[in-house]
């Protein structure tokens, strides 16, 4: 059963990834990106990461993708004839080079290492979200605070960038 689920999630996520970069209409690309995100969320459930599953659906599929679709709606991009980069054979070559390097890395990985203490039984005993919270607010507290400041900076930057420029004499309405 778990093999079947893994096969389904893996196949559909790869297919939607390919559709995301291959379809011409940006809205169709956004929708196949949505399908990819949902199936990756399914993979997180198979890996016993229930909290990440919820975060993936709420933040990625719920917030980031809606942001993309809003910008697509505001910009009203036309579907163009030439949707590939002009020099794309050169970039394909660069992509093949990076692929070779990644393949070497993948085949050299030992696929092992020092085991931690959070075995599935322990996590199930303390409840998954509880375990995530305890780890995040003890070992990773500093990183958590830094991410908070980072997000504040990102919000301010996005607002400043996307603000409609007004003439300096128009008064302070913004």
């Amino acid at each position: 059963m778990i093999y079947l689920l893994f096969g389904y999630f893996a196949t559909v996520s790869i297919l939607s990834g390919i559709f995301t970069i291959a379809l011409k209409n940006p809205v169709h690309c956004g929708l196949s990106l949505l399908s990819l995100l949902l199936h990756v969320a399914g993979l997180f459930v198979l890996l016993n990461a229930e909290f990440l599953f919820a975060v993936q659906i709420i933040v990625y599929a719920g917030a980031i993708l809606v942001l993309y679709l809003f910008v697509l709606m505001l910009l009203n991009l036309k579907t163009e004839e030439q949707y590939l980069h002009k020099k794309y054979p050169f970039f394909l070559f660069a992509g093949v080079a990076i692929l070779g390097e990644l393949l070497i890395l993948v085949f050299q990985t030992p696929y092992g290492g020092a085991k931690g203490v959070a075995t599935p039984e322990v996590v199930l005993q303390t409840r998954p979200s509880h375990a995530v919270g305890i780890t995040m607010f003890s070992d990773y507290l500093l990183l958590f605070e830094i991410v908070g400041v980072f997000l504040l900076g990102a919000i301010i930057g996005a607002i400043v960038l996307a603000k409609t420029p007004t003439a300096p004499t128009a008064g302070a309405d913004g």
Binding site: N48, L52, Y60, L67, A114, K115, P120, A131, A154, A162
Partner: protein, 100 residues
């Protein structure tokens, strides 16, 4: 039990898909979407190793990656809006202000 290498292979394929999208597409927004695919591939890798090595560290890293992705999407889309509104360019290969 699914082998760890299956997850690593899947994340490899997804990462290459996203990388190809970044390299060959002209549309701004689809380039950003391809970056999201690459971040998702990294997340699968992190969570798979976190599960198979029974450690919470990978899940934490994946959570922070999601937070960074949200910030990146917000700033990137704001830059796209500025470029598009200022009629600077309509495609990625037309932005050459910083080209020497």
């Amino acid at each position: 039990m699914i082998p760890l290498s299956a997850y690593v292979g899947l994340s490899f394929i997804l990462f290459m898909t996203g990388l190809l999208g970044v390299l060959i597409r002209r549309n701004f927004i689809i380039v950003l979407m391809s970056v999201e695919i690459m971040l998702n591939a990294a997340n699968i890798n992190l969570v798979a190793f976190s599960h198979y090595l029974s450690s919470m560290a990978g899940q934490m890293a994946a959570l922070f990656v999601i937070a960074i992705a949200a910030g990146e999407a917000a700033v990137g889309l704001a830059i796209i809006i500025v470029v598009f509104r200022g009629k600077i360019a309509t495609n990625v290969d037309q932005i050459n202000l910083l080209k020497w």
